[in-house]
Protein backbone atom coordinates (compact mmCIF):
# COMPACT_ATOMS: atom_id res chain seq x y z
CA UNK A 1 0.00 0.00 0.00
CA UNK A 2 1.16 3.53 -0.57
CA UNK A 3 1.09 5.92 2.35
CA UNK A 4 1.03 9.04 0.21
CA UNK A 5 0.53 9.82 -3.45
CA UNK A 6 0.91 13.32 -4.81
CA UNK A 7 -0.40 13.94 -8.31
CA UNK A 8 0.45 17.08 -10.28
CA UNK A 9 0.62 19.31 -7.21
CA UNK A 10 0.94 23.00 -8.03
CA UNK A 11 0.91 25.84 -5.55
CA UNK A 12 1.17 29.54 -6.18
CA UNK A 13 0.95 32.54 -3.90
CA UNK A 14 -0.47 35.25 -6.11
CA UNK A 15 1.67 35.20 -9.22
CA UNK A 16 4.59 33.41 -7.58
CA UNK A 17 4.67 29.71 -8.44
CA UNK A 18 6.11 27.91 -5.46
CA UNK A 19 5.45 24.29 -6.46
CA UNK A 20 5.31 23.07 -10.05
CA UNK A 21 3.80 19.72 -11.00
CA UNK A 22 5.01 17.60 -8.12
CA UNK A 23 4.39 13.87 -8.54
CA UNK A 24 5.53 11.61 -5.78
CA UNK A 25 4.70 8.44 -3.89
CA UNK A 26 5.66 7.39 -0.39
CA UNK A 27 5.42 3.66 0.28
CA UNK A 28 4.17 2.25 3.55
CA UNK A 29 6.86 2.39 6.21
CA UNK A 30 9.21 4.43 4.06
CA UNK A 31 11.35 7.29 5.39
CA UNK A 32 11.36 10.00 2.76
CA UNK A 33 13.44 13.15 3.08
CA UNK A 34 12.72 16.35 1.15
CA UNK A 35 15.95 18.24 0.78
CA UNK A 36 16.87 21.42 -1.03
CA UNK A 37 18.20 24.92 -0.51
CA UNK A 38 16.04 27.38 1.42
CA UNK A 39 13.17 28.75 -0.61
CA UNK A 40 12.93 25.66 -2.80
CA UNK A 41 9.36 24.93 -1.65
CA UNK A 42 10.03 21.88 0.50
CA UNK A 43 8.28 23.28 3.57
CA UNK A 44 5.36 24.47 1.45
CA UNK A 45 5.05 20.98 0.00
CA UNK A 46 4.95 19.54 3.52
CA UNK A 47 2.26 22.03 4.51
CA UNK A 48 0.21 21.10 1.46
CA UNK A 49 0.42 17.45 2.53
CA UNK A 50 -0.56 18.43 6.09
CA UNK A 51 -3.49 20.48 4.84
CA UNK A 52 -2.19 23.73 6.30
CA UNK A 53 -2.04 25.13 2.76
CA UNK A 54 -4.38 24.24 -0.08
CA UNK A 55 -2.82 23.05 -3.30
CA UNK A 56 -3.70 25.31 -6.24
CA UNK A 57 -4.18 22.17 -8.32
CA UNK A 58 -3.45 18.46 -8.09
CA UNK A 59 -4.52 15.80 -5.62
CA UNK A 60 -3.14 14.65 -2.29
CA UNK A 61 -3.90 11.04 -1.46
CA UNK A 62 -3.06 9.77 2.03
CA UNK A 63 -3.46 6.05 2.73
CA UNK A 64 -5.84 5.60 -0.17
CA UNK A 65 -8.14 8.58 0.46
CA UNK A 66 -8.09 11.80 -1.47
CA UNK A 67 -7.80 14.41 1.27
CA UNK A 68 -7.78 17.69 -0.66
CA UNK A 69 -10.84 18.88 1.22
CA UNK A 70 -10.13 17.23 4.56
CA UNK A 71 -9.02 19.42 7.47
CA UNK A 72 -5.53 18.69 8.88
CA UNK A 73 -6.84 16.99 12.03
CA UNK A 74 -8.75 14.38 10.01
CA UNK A 75 -5.98 13.47 7.56
CA UNK A 76 -4.36 10.89 9.82
CA UNK A 77 -1.10 12.80 10.04
CA UNK A 78 1.02 14.19 12.84
CA UNK A 79 3.59 16.91 12.48
CA UNK A 80 6.73 17.93 14.34
CA UNK A 81 7.75 21.54 13.92
CA UNK A 82 11.13 23.25 13.87
CA UNK A 83 10.14 25.56 16.72
CA UNK A 84 8.61 22.63 18.69
CA UNK A 85 5.29 24.55 18.87
CA UNK A 86 4.34 23.12 22.26
CA UNK A 87 1.32 24.60 23.99
CA UNK A 88 2.87 26.92 26.57
CA UNK A 89 0.00 26.65 29.05
CA UNK A 90 -0.11 22.84 29.22
CA UNK A 91 2.09 20.30 30.97
CA UNK A 92 4.11 17.75 29.01
CA UNK A 93 1.43 15.12 29.57
CA UNK A 94 -1.41 17.41 28.48
CA UNK A 95 0.53 18.59 25.47
CA UNK A 96 0.66 15.00 24.29
CA UNK A 97 -2.92 14.20 25.24
CA UNK A 98 -4.63 17.22 23.67
CA UNK A 99 -4.91 15.79 20.17
CA UNK A 100 -6.45 12.56 21.45
CA UNK A 101 -8.89 14.44 23.65
CA UNK A 102 -9.98 16.42 20.61
CA UNK A 103 -10.60 13.12 18.83
CA UNK A 104 -12.79 12.12 21.79
CA UNK A 105 -10.78 8.98 22.49
CA UNK A 106 -11.71 7.12 25.70
CA UNK A 107 -9.70 8.13 28.76
CA UNK A 108 -8.08 4.72 29.12
CA UNK A 109 -6.76 4.79 25.56
CA UNK A 110 -5.34 8.28 26.01
CA UNK A 111 -3.67 7.30 29.27
CA UNK A 112 -2.17 4.18 27.75
CA UNK A 113 -0.80 5.81 24.62
CA UNK A 114 0.62 8.81 26.45
CA UNK A 115 2.34 6.62 29.03
CA UNK A 116 3.81 4.49 26.27
CA UNK A 117 5.18 7.52 24.46
CA UNK A 118 6.59 8.92 27.68
CA UNK A 119 8.38 5.62 28.31
CA UNK A 120 9.66 5.42 24.77
CA UNK A 121 11.08 8.95 24.83
CA UNK A 122 12.39 8.75 28.38
CA UNK A 123 10.36 11.74 29.55
CA UNK A 124 9.26 10.23 32.89
CA UNK A 125 10.87 12.90 35.03
CA UNK A 126 9.20 15.76 33.21
CA UNK A 127 5.55 14.81 32.72
CA UNK A 128 4.17 17.58 34.90
CA UNK A 129 6.48 20.34 33.74
CA UNK A 130 5.55 23.16 31.43
CA UNK A 131 7.43 23.50 28.12
CA UNK A 132 9.17 26.64 29.38
CA UNK A 133 10.93 24.54 32.04
CA UNK A 134 12.43 22.14 29.51
CA UNK A 135 15.62 22.31 27.45
CA UNK A 136 15.52 22.41 23.66
CA UNK A 137 16.20 18.71 23.26
CA UNK A 138 13.52 17.77 25.79
CA UNK A 139 11.01 20.05 24.09
CA UNK A 140 11.68 18.40 20.76
CA UNK A 141 11.17 14.98 22.36
CA UNK A 142 7.82 16.14 23.74
CA UNK A 143 6.88 17.39 20.28
CA UNK A 144 7.81 13.99 18.85
CA UNK A 145 5.78 12.34 21.62
CA UNK A 146 2.78 14.47 20.71
CA UNK A 147 3.06 13.08 17.19
CA UNK A 148 3.52 9.44 18.28
CA UNK A 149 0.45 9.24 20.51
CA UNK A 150 -1.84 10.03 17.60
CA UNK A 151 -0.66 6.86 15.81
CA UNK A 152 -0.85 8.62 12.44
CA UNK A 153 -0.67 7.06 9.01
CA UNK A 154 2.03 9.53 8.15
CA UNK A 155 4.54 11.48 10.24
CA UNK A 156 5.65 14.88 8.99
CA UNK A 157 8.85 16.47 10.29
CA UNK A 158 9.57 20.09 9.43
CA UNK A 159 13.30 20.66 10.03
CA UNK A 160 13.00 19.25 13.56
CA UNK A 161 16.70 19.47 14.37
CA UNK A 162 17.52 22.97 13.13
CA UNK A 163 17.11 24.60 16.55
CA UNK A 164 19.31 22.11 18.40
CA UNK A 165 23.05 22.35 18.94
CA UNK A 166 25.39 20.06 17.04
CA UNK A 167 25.85 17.31 19.65
CA UNK A 168 22.16 17.12 20.46
CA UNK A 169 21.33 17.15 16.77
CA UNK A 170 23.26 13.92 16.22
CA UNK A 171 21.62 12.21 19.23
CA UNK A 172 18.14 13.24 18.19
CA UNK A 173 18.87 12.16 14.63
CA UNK A 174 19.69 8.69 15.89
CA UNK A 175 16.57 8.70 18.07
CA UNK A 176 14.41 9.56 15.09
CA UNK A 177 16.01 6.76 13.08
CA UNK A 178 15.33 4.32 15.93
CA UNK A 179 11.80 5.59 16.23
CA UNK A 180 11.28 4.85 12.56
CA UNK A 181 12.56 1.31 13.05
CA UNK A 182 10.35 0.65 16.11
CA UNK A 183 7.17 2.16 14.72
CA UNK A 184 7.83 1.17 11.11
CA UNK A 185 5.65 4.15 10.23
CA UNK A 186 5.74 6.20 7.05
CA UNK A 187 7.63 9.43 7.61
CA UNK A 188 8.33 12.55 5.61
CA UNK A 189 11.17 14.70 6.80
CA UNK A 190 12.08 18.14 5.50
CA UNK A 191 15.59 19.47 5.90
CA UNK A 192 18.17 21.64 4.18
CA UNK A 193 20.96 19.63 5.76
CA UNK A 194 22.34 17.03 3.39
CA UNK A 195 23.89 15.02 6.26
CA UNK A 196 20.46 14.49 7.83
CA UNK A 197 19.08 13.55 4.44
CA UNK A 198 21.84 11.04 3.71
CA UNK A 199 21.78 9.41 7.14
CA UNK A 200 18.03 9.11 7.69
CA UNK A 201 16.40 8.55 4.35
CA UNK A 202 15.23 5.45 2.58
CA UNK A 203 14.45 7.79 -0.27
CA UNK A 204 15.62 11.33 -0.88
CA UNK A 205 13.65 13.86 -2.91
CA UNK A 206 15.85 16.72 -4.07
CA UNK A 207 13.87 19.89 -4.74
CA UNK A 208 14.90 23.09 -6.46
CA UNK A 209 12.71 26.08 -7.30
CA UNK A 210 9.53 24.13 -6.64
CA UNK A 211 10.46 21.22 -8.86
CA UNK A 212 11.66 17.72 -8.14
CA UNK A 213 15.21 17.36 -9.43
CA UNK A 214 15.77 13.72 -8.57
CA UNK A 215 14.31 10.97 -6.42
CA UNK A 216 16.26 7.97 -5.17
CA UNK A 217 18.05 6.23 -2.34
CA UNK A 218 20.91 8.19 -0.75
CA UNK A 219 23.59 6.07 -2.42
CA UNK A 220 21.80 6.28 -5.77
CA UNK A 221 21.92 10.04 -5.64
CA UNK A 222 25.51 10.06 -4.45
CA UNK A 223 26.72 7.67 -7.11
CA UNK A 224 24.44 8.69 -9.95
CA UNK A 225 23.32 12.30 -9.68
CA UNK A 226 21.28 13.24 -12.75
CA UNK A 227 22.55 16.80 -12.95
CA UNK A 228 25.08 19.20 -11.56
CA UNK A 229 22.71 20.60 -8.91
CA UNK A 230 22.08 17.23 -7.28
CA UNK A 231 25.76 16.34 -7.54
CA UNK A 232 26.75 19.57 -5.81
CA UNK A 233 24.05 19.45 -3.16
CA UNK A 234 24.72 15.99 -1.76
CA UNK A 235 28.09 15.09 -0.28
CA UNK A 236 30.23 17.11 2.06
CA UNK A 237 32.49 18.89 1.28
CA UNK A 238 30.64 19.61 -1.96
CA UNK A 239 31.76 18.24 -5.32
CA UNK A 240 34.40 20.17 -7.29
CA UNK A 241 33.40 21.44 -10.70
CA UNK A 242 36.14 22.16 -13.22
CA UNK A 243 35.51 24.12 -16.44
CA UNK A 244 39.09 23.62 -17.64
CA UNK A 245 39.43 19.94 -17.08
CA UNK A 246 42.46 17.79 -17.77
CA UNK A 247 40.25 15.32 -19.69
CA UNK A 248 38.10 15.77 -22.77
CA UNK A 249 34.72 17.27 -21.96
CA UNK A 250 32.12 18.77 -24.25
CA UNK A 251 32.18 22.48 -25.09
CA UNK A 252 30.80 24.54 -22.17
CA UNK A 253 30.57 21.49 -19.94
CA UNK A 254 32.09 20.76 -16.57
CA UNK A 255 33.91 17.92 -14.91
CA UNK A 256 32.76 16.98 -11.42
CA UNK A 257 35.05 15.23 -8.94
CA UNK A 258 34.18 14.61 -5.32
CA UNK A 259 36.82 15.85 -2.84
CA UNK A 260 37.25 12.34 -1.46
CA UNK A 261 38.08 10.95 -4.91
CA UNK A 262 41.06 13.25 -5.40
CA UNK A 263 44.47 12.20 -4.12
CA UNK A 264 47.89 13.75 -3.89
CA UNK A 265 50.11 12.12 -6.50
CA UNK A 266 53.41 13.14 -8.05
CA UNK A 267 52.90 13.74 -11.76
CA UNK A 268 49.10 13.94 -11.38
CA UNK A 269 46.89 15.58 -13.97
CA UNK A 270 45.98 18.63 -11.85
CA UNK A 271 48.56 21.08 -10.46
CA UNK A 272 47.82 23.77 -7.94
CA UNK A 273 48.78 25.73 -4.86
CA UNK A 274 47.33 25.07 -1.42
CA UNK A 275 45.43 28.14 -0.19
CA UNK A 276 44.00 26.77 3.06
CA UNK A 277 44.18 23.62 5.17
CA UNK A 278 41.46 22.35 7.49
CA UNK A 279 42.75 19.71 9.87
CA UNK A 280 39.92 17.71 11.44
CA UNK A 281 42.11 14.99 12.95
CA UNK A 282 40.32 12.12 11.25
CA UNK A 283 40.73 13.74 7.88
CA UNK A 284 42.20 16.81 6.29
CA UNK A 285 40.60 19.17 3.79
CA UNK A 286 42.90 21.03 1.40
CA UNK A 287 41.64 24.05 -0.49
CA UNK A 288 43.64 24.37 -3.65
CA UNK A 289 43.83 26.90 -6.43
CA UNK A 290 44.69 25.13 -9.69
CA UNK A 291 47.00 26.39 -12.41
CA UNK A 292 43.85 27.32 -14.37
CA UNK A 293 42.81 29.43 -11.38
CA UNK A 294 39.88 27.22 -10.32
CA UNK A 295 39.21 26.46 -6.67
CA UNK A 296 39.01 22.82 -5.64
CA UNK A 297 38.72 20.98 -2.36
CA UNK A 298 40.53 17.75 -1.60
CA UNK A 299 39.60 15.49 1.26
CA UNK A 300 42.43 13.32 2.49
CA UNK A 301 41.81 10.63 5.07
CA UNK A 302 44.04 10.80 8.11
CA UNK A 303 46.49 13.57 8.87
CA UNK A 304 48.70 15.20 6.33
CA UNK A 305 51.70 17.51 6.54
CA UNK A 306 50.81 19.64 3.50
CA UNK A 307 50.99 23.35 4.37
CA UNK A 308 49.55 26.52 2.89
CA UNK A 309 51.38 27.73 -0.26
CA UNK A 310 52.73 24.23 -1.02
CA UNK A 311 52.56 23.33 -4.67
CA UNK A 312 50.85 19.98 -5.12
CA UNK A 313 49.91 17.59 -7.89
CA UNK A 314 46.62 15.72 -7.80
CA UNK A 315 45.04 12.84 -9.63
CA UNK A 316 41.75 10.95 -9.71
CA UNK A 317 40.20 7.81 -11.16
CA UNK A 318 38.37 8.76 -14.33
CA UNK A 319 35.50 6.36 -13.66
CA UNK A 320 34.73 8.22 -10.41
CA UNK A 321 34.43 11.60 -12.16
CA UNK A 322 31.20 12.96 -13.63
CA UNK A 323 30.70 14.97 -16.77
CA UNK A 324 28.01 17.57 -17.25
CA UNK A 325 27.00 19.32 -20.47
CA UNK A 326 26.43 23.03 -21.01
CA UNK A 327 22.94 22.73 -19.51
CA UNK A 328 24.36 21.08 -16.38
CA UNK A 329 22.82 17.71 -17.30
CA UNK A 330 24.85 14.58 -16.62
CA UNK A 331 26.49 12.88 -19.59
CA UNK A 332 27.00 9.17 -19.37
CA UNK A 333 30.60 8.33 -20.18
Amino acid sequence: MTALTLTDICKSFGSAEVLKDINLTVEDGEFVVFVGPSGCGKSTLLRVIAGLEDATSGTVNIGGDVVNNTPPAKRGIAMVFQSYALYPHLSVRDNMALGLRQEKQPKAVIEERVSKAIQMLDLNAYVDRRPSDLSGGQRQRVAIGRAIVREPKLFLFDEPLSNLDAALRMNTRIEIAELHRTLSASMIYVTHDQTEAMTLADKIVVLRDGQVEQVGSPMDLYNNPCNRFVAGFLGSPAMNFLKKAPVDIPQGGTLGIRPEHLRLQKGGRIKGTVTHVERLGGDTNLLISTEQDEAITVRIFGQNATAVRDVVELDFDSHLAFQFDGDDQRIAV
Partner: protein, 279 residues
Protein backbone atom coordinates in the same frame (compact mmCIF):
# COMPACT_ATOMS: atom_id res chain seq x y z
CA UNK B 1 23.60 46.64 31.67
CA UNK B 2 27.14 46.60 30.43
CA UNK B 3 29.43 48.40 32.88
CA UNK B 4 31.48 49.89 30.05
CA UNK B 5 28.45 51.54 28.51
CA UNK B 6 27.19 52.80 31.82
CA UNK B 7 28.17 56.41 32.04
CA UNK B 8 27.48 57.97 35.42
CA UNK B 9 26.72 61.37 33.99
CA UNK B 10 24.28 59.97 31.45
CA UNK B 11 22.48 57.90 34.07
CA UNK B 12 22.25 60.92 36.30
CA UNK B 13 20.91 63.13 33.51
CA UNK B 14 18.35 60.55 32.48
CA UNK B 15 17.09 60.10 36.01
CA UNK B 16 17.07 63.86 36.52
CA UNK B 17 14.92 64.37 33.43
CA UNK B 18 12.55 61.64 34.55
CA UNK B 19 12.25 63.04 38.05
CA UNK B 20 11.46 66.51 36.68
CA UNK B 21 8.85 65.00 34.38
CA UNK B 22 7.25 63.06 37.23
CA UNK B 23 7.07 66.23 39.34
CA UNK B 24 5.45 68.20 36.52
CA UNK B 25 2.98 65.41 35.78
CA UNK B 26 2.01 64.82 39.38
CA UNK B 27 1.83 68.45 40.45
CA UNK B 28 -1.78 69.17 39.40
CA UNK B 29 -2.95 65.91 40.93
CA UNK B 30 -1.09 66.77 44.12
CA UNK B 31 -2.70 70.22 44.28
CA UNK B 32 -6.17 68.77 43.76
CA UNK B 33 -5.73 66.16 46.45
CA UNK B 34 -4.30 68.49 49.14
CA UNK B 35 -6.90 71.15 48.50
CA UNK B 36 -9.74 68.66 48.70
CA UNK B 37 -8.87 68.31 52.39
CA UNK B 38 -8.98 72.07 53.13
CA UNK B 39 -11.78 74.48 53.90
CA UNK B 40 -12.88 76.94 51.26
CA UNK B 41 -11.02 79.95 52.60
CA UNK B 42 -7.67 78.15 52.82
CA UNK B 43 -8.01 76.86 49.28
CA UNK B 44 -7.96 80.41 47.98
CA UNK B 45 -5.60 81.94 50.53
CA UNK B 46 -2.79 79.42 50.18
CA UNK B 47 -3.57 76.94 47.39
CA UNK B 48 -0.16 75.27 47.69
CA UNK B 49 -0.05 74.82 51.44
CA UNK B 50 -0.61 71.41 52.97
CA UNK B 51 -3.71 71.08 55.12
CA UNK B 52 -2.93 71.78 58.79
CA UNK B 53 -5.02 71.52 61.92
CA UNK B 54 -6.55 74.90 61.21
CA UNK B 55 -7.41 74.50 57.53
CA UNK B 56 -8.20 70.77 57.53
CA UNK B 57 -11.80 70.07 56.59
CA UNK B 58 -13.76 67.20 55.09
CA UNK B 59 -16.62 69.48 54.06
CA UNK B 60 -16.00 68.76 50.37
CA UNK B 61 -16.28 65.02 50.81
CA UNK B 62 -19.37 65.43 52.96
CA UNK B 63 -21.06 67.51 50.26
CA UNK B 64 -20.12 65.04 47.57
CA UNK B 65 -21.43 62.05 49.48
CA UNK B 66 -24.61 63.83 50.53
CA UNK B 67 -25.54 65.61 47.38
CA UNK B 68 -26.54 63.81 44.23
CA UNK B 69 -26.18 60.13 43.71
CA UNK B 70 -22.46 60.04 43.80
CA UNK B 71 -22.34 56.28 44.11
CA UNK B 72 -24.68 55.94 41.18
CA UNK B 73 -22.38 58.14 39.05
CA UNK B 74 -19.50 56.03 40.18
CA UNK B 75 -21.29 52.89 39.19
CA UNK B 76 -22.27 54.35 35.81
CA UNK B 77 -18.68 55.32 35.05
CA UNK B 78 -17.50 51.88 36.06
CA UNK B 79 -20.07 50.12 33.88
CA UNK B 80 -19.30 52.29 30.88
CA UNK B 81 -15.53 51.95 31.24
CA UNK B 82 -15.41 48.24 31.93
CA UNK B 83 -18.10 47.49 29.34
CA UNK B 84 -16.35 49.50 26.64
CA UNK B 85 -12.99 47.94 27.45
CA UNK B 86 -14.50 44.48 27.26
CA UNK B 87 -15.97 45.08 23.81
CA UNK B 88 -12.88 46.88 22.52
CA UNK B 89 -10.64 44.03 23.61
CA UNK B 90 -12.82 41.18 22.41
CA UNK B 91 -13.78 42.64 19.03
CA UNK B 92 -10.42 44.32 18.52
CA UNK B 93 -8.57 41.06 19.18
CA UNK B 94 -10.86 39.07 16.90
CA UNK B 95 -10.49 41.54 14.04
CA UNK B 96 -6.75 41.69 14.61
CA UNK B 97 -6.52 37.90 14.51
CA UNK B 98 -8.40 37.77 11.22
CA UNK B 99 -6.18 40.45 9.69
CA UNK B 100 -2.99 38.88 10.95
CA UNK B 101 -3.81 35.24 10.31
CA UNK B 102 -5.98 34.82 7.25
CA UNK B 103 -5.16 35.54 3.64
CA UNK B 104 -8.24 36.96 1.98
CA UNK B 105 -8.98 39.46 -0.73
CA UNK B 106 -8.85 43.02 0.55
CA UNK B 107 -6.97 42.11 3.72
CA UNK B 108 -4.57 45.06 3.48
CA UNK B 109 -7.38 47.37 2.41
CA UNK B 110 -9.48 46.31 5.37
CA UNK B 111 -6.54 46.92 7.70
CA UNK B 112 -6.05 50.42 6.29
CA UNK B 113 -9.76 51.14 6.52
CA UNK B 114 -9.76 50.17 10.19
CA UNK B 115 -6.64 52.24 10.80
CA UNK B 116 -8.39 55.29 9.33
CA UNK B 117 -10.27 55.61 12.61
CA UNK B 118 -6.99 56.39 14.35
CA UNK B 119 -6.56 59.52 12.28
CA UNK B 120 -10.13 60.85 12.27
CA UNK B 121 -11.42 61.89 15.68
CA UNK B 122 -14.80 60.39 16.44
CA UNK B 123 -16.08 63.69 17.84
CA UNK B 124 -16.38 65.05 14.30
CA UNK B 125 -19.36 62.73 13.93
CA UNK B 126 -21.06 63.80 17.16
CA UNK B 127 -24.15 65.27 15.50
CA UNK B 128 -24.71 62.20 13.36
CA UNK B 129 -24.12 59.95 16.35
CA UNK B 130 -26.64 61.91 18.38
CA UNK B 131 -29.23 61.64 15.59
CA UNK B 132 -28.63 57.91 15.36
CA UNK B 133 -28.98 57.47 19.09
CA UNK B 134 -32.19 59.48 19.11
CA UNK B 135 -33.65 57.36 16.33
CA UNK B 136 -32.68 54.08 17.97
CA UNK B 137 -33.93 55.30 21.33
CA UNK B 138 -30.54 54.83 22.95
CA UNK B 139 -30.23 58.41 24.19
CA UNK B 140 -29.82 58.57 27.94
CA UNK B 141 -28.76 54.95 28.23
CA UNK B 142 -25.35 53.64 29.18
CA UNK B 143 -25.40 51.56 25.98
CA UNK B 144 -25.09 54.76 23.95
CA UNK B 145 -21.81 55.54 25.68
CA UNK B 146 -20.50 51.97 25.55
CA UNK B 147 -21.17 51.74 21.81
CA UNK B 148 -19.52 55.06 21.05
CA UNK B 149 -16.45 54.32 23.16
CA UNK B 150 -16.14 50.88 21.61
CA UNK B 151 -16.16 52.44 18.16
CA UNK B 152 -13.65 55.02 19.33
CA UNK B 153 -11.26 52.45 20.78
CA UNK B 154 -11.41 49.76 18.10
CA UNK B 155 -9.11 51.25 15.42
CA UNK B 156 -6.08 51.58 17.66
CA UNK B 157 -6.83 48.25 19.32
CA UNK B 158 -6.95 46.43 15.98
CA UNK B 159 -3.80 48.18 14.82
CA UNK B 160 -1.74 47.35 17.92
CA UNK B 161 -3.09 43.83 18.44
CA UNK B 162 -2.68 42.70 14.83
CA UNK B 163 0.95 43.76 14.98
CA UNK B 164 1.46 41.61 18.07
CA UNK B 165 -0.52 38.69 16.69
CA UNK B 166 1.78 38.51 13.68
CA UNK B 167 4.56 37.71 16.11
CA UNK B 168 2.79 34.66 17.51
CA UNK B 169 4.46 31.59 16.05
CA UNK B 170 2.69 30.12 13.01
CA UNK B 171 3.91 26.69 14.04
CA UNK B 172 1.95 26.91 17.28
CA UNK B 173 -1.30 27.74 15.51
CA UNK B 174 -0.65 25.00 12.96
CA UNK B 175 0.09 22.49 15.71
CA UNK B 176 -3.31 23.36 17.15
CA UNK B 177 -4.96 22.84 13.77
CA UNK B 178 -3.32 19.45 13.35
CA UNK B 179 -4.47 18.48 16.84
CA UNK B 180 -8.00 19.37 15.80
CA UNK B 181 -8.54 22.59 17.73
CA UNK B 182 -11.18 24.89 16.28
CA UNK B 183 -10.15 28.35 15.14
CA UNK B 184 -11.96 29.78 18.16
CA UNK B 185 -10.00 27.62 20.58
CA UNK B 186 -6.76 28.47 18.81
CA UNK B 187 -7.68 32.13 19.21
CA UNK B 188 -8.81 32.01 22.84
CA UNK B 189 -6.51 29.36 24.26
CA UNK B 190 -3.29 29.73 22.29
CA UNK B 191 -3.09 33.23 20.84
CA UNK B 192 -4.83 35.45 23.40
CA UNK B 193 -2.67 34.37 26.38
CA UNK B 194 0.44 35.12 24.34
CA UNK B 195 -0.67 38.67 23.46
CA UNK B 196 -1.81 39.48 27.00
CA UNK B 197 0.77 42.27 27.43
CA UNK B 198 -0.53 43.93 24.27
CA UNK B 199 -4.11 43.58 25.51
CA UNK B 200 -3.15 45.31 28.76
CA UNK B 201 -1.52 48.12 26.81
CA UNK B 202 -4.65 48.64 24.74
CA UNK B 203 -6.81 48.48 27.88
CA UNK B 204 -4.84 51.19 29.68
CA UNK B 205 -4.64 53.47 26.65
CA UNK B 206 -8.41 53.28 26.29
CA UNK B 207 -9.42 53.25 29.92
CA UNK B 208 -8.22 56.71 30.95
CA UNK B 209 -9.81 58.76 28.12
CA UNK B 210 -13.10 56.90 28.56
CA UNK B 211 -13.16 57.42 32.31
CA UNK B 212 -12.33 61.10 31.96
CA UNK B 213 -14.58 61.88 29.01
CA UNK B 214 -17.09 64.67 29.49
CA UNK B 215 -18.15 65.24 25.89
CA UNK B 216 -20.23 62.19 25.10
CA UNK B 217 -21.90 61.81 28.52
CA UNK B 218 -22.94 65.47 28.29
CA UNK B 219 -24.43 65.02 24.82
CA UNK B 220 -25.69 61.45 24.76
CA UNK B 221 -26.55 60.64 28.36
CA UNK B 222 -27.09 63.73 30.51
CA UNK B 223 -30.05 62.29 32.45
CA UNK B 224 -29.64 62.00 36.19
CA UNK B 225 -29.78 58.22 36.40
CA UNK B 226 -27.11 57.63 33.72
CA UNK B 227 -24.68 60.43 34.58
CA UNK B 228 -21.04 59.44 34.74
CA UNK B 229 -18.70 60.60 37.45
CA UNK B 230 -17.06 63.30 35.35
CA UNK B 231 -20.42 64.71 34.36
CA UNK B 232 -21.78 64.32 37.89
CA UNK B 233 -18.91 66.39 39.27
CA UNK B 234 -20.03 69.27 37.07
CA UNK B 235 -23.08 69.91 39.27
CA UNK B 236 -20.74 71.62 41.72
CA UNK B 237 -19.51 74.00 39.04
CA UNK B 238 -22.09 76.70 38.59
CA UNK B 239 -22.16 79.71 36.34
CA UNK B 240 -21.87 82.09 39.28
CA UNK B 241 -20.89 79.99 42.28
CA UNK B 242 -18.66 76.96 42.28
CA UNK B 243 -18.37 74.65 45.26
CA UNK B 244 -14.63 74.11 44.95
CA UNK B 245 -14.44 71.84 47.97
CA UNK B 246 -16.91 69.47 46.41
CA UNK B 247 -15.35 69.62 42.93
CA UNK B 248 -11.88 68.85 44.25
CA UNK B 249 -13.17 66.06 46.47
CA UNK B 250 -15.13 64.51 43.61
CA UNK B 251 -12.07 64.62 41.35
CA UNK B 252 -9.87 63.11 44.05
CA UNK B 253 -12.31 60.25 44.45
CA UNK B 254 -12.48 59.77 40.68
CA UNK B 255 -8.76 59.10 40.54
CA UNK B 256 -8.98 56.03 42.76
CA UNK B 257 -10.69 53.45 40.51
CA UNK B 258 -8.52 54.31 37.51
CA UNK B 259 -5.49 53.88 39.69
CA UNK B 260 -6.76 50.51 40.85
CA UNK B 261 -7.35 49.36 37.26
CA UNK B 262 -3.96 50.69 36.24
CA UNK B 263 -2.21 48.73 38.97
CA UNK B 264 -3.97 45.59 37.75
CA UNK B 265 -2.79 46.13 34.17
CA UNK B 266 0.54 47.82 34.77
CA UNK B 267 2.83 44.80 34.98
CA UNK B 268 1.50 43.53 31.69
CA UNK B 269 1.55 47.06 30.29
CA UNK B 270 5.25 47.55 30.86
CA UNK B 271 5.99 44.21 29.22
CA UNK B 272 3.78 45.18 26.30
CA UNK B 273 5.51 48.49 25.70
CA UNK B 274 9.04 47.19 26.06
CA UNK B 275 8.51 44.03 24.03
CA UNK B 276 7.22 46.17 21.22
CA UNK B 277 10.26 48.39 21.49
CA UNK B 278 13.01 45.82 21.26
CA UNK B 279 11.55 43.52 18.66
Amino acid sequence: MNAVRQNRLNTFAAHGALVVYVLIALFPVFVIVINSFKDRRSIFREPLALPNSESFSLIGYETVLKQGDFFLYFQNSMIVTVGSLFFILIFGAMAAFALAEYRFKGNTLMGLYLALGIMIPIRIGTVAILEMMVQTGLVNTLWALILVYTAQGLPLAVFILSEFMRQVSDDLKNAGRIDGLSEYRIFFRLVLPLVRPAMATVAVFNMIPIWNDLWFPLILAPAEEVKTLTLGSQVFIGQFVTDWNAVLSALSLAILPVMALYVIFSRQLIRGITSGAVK
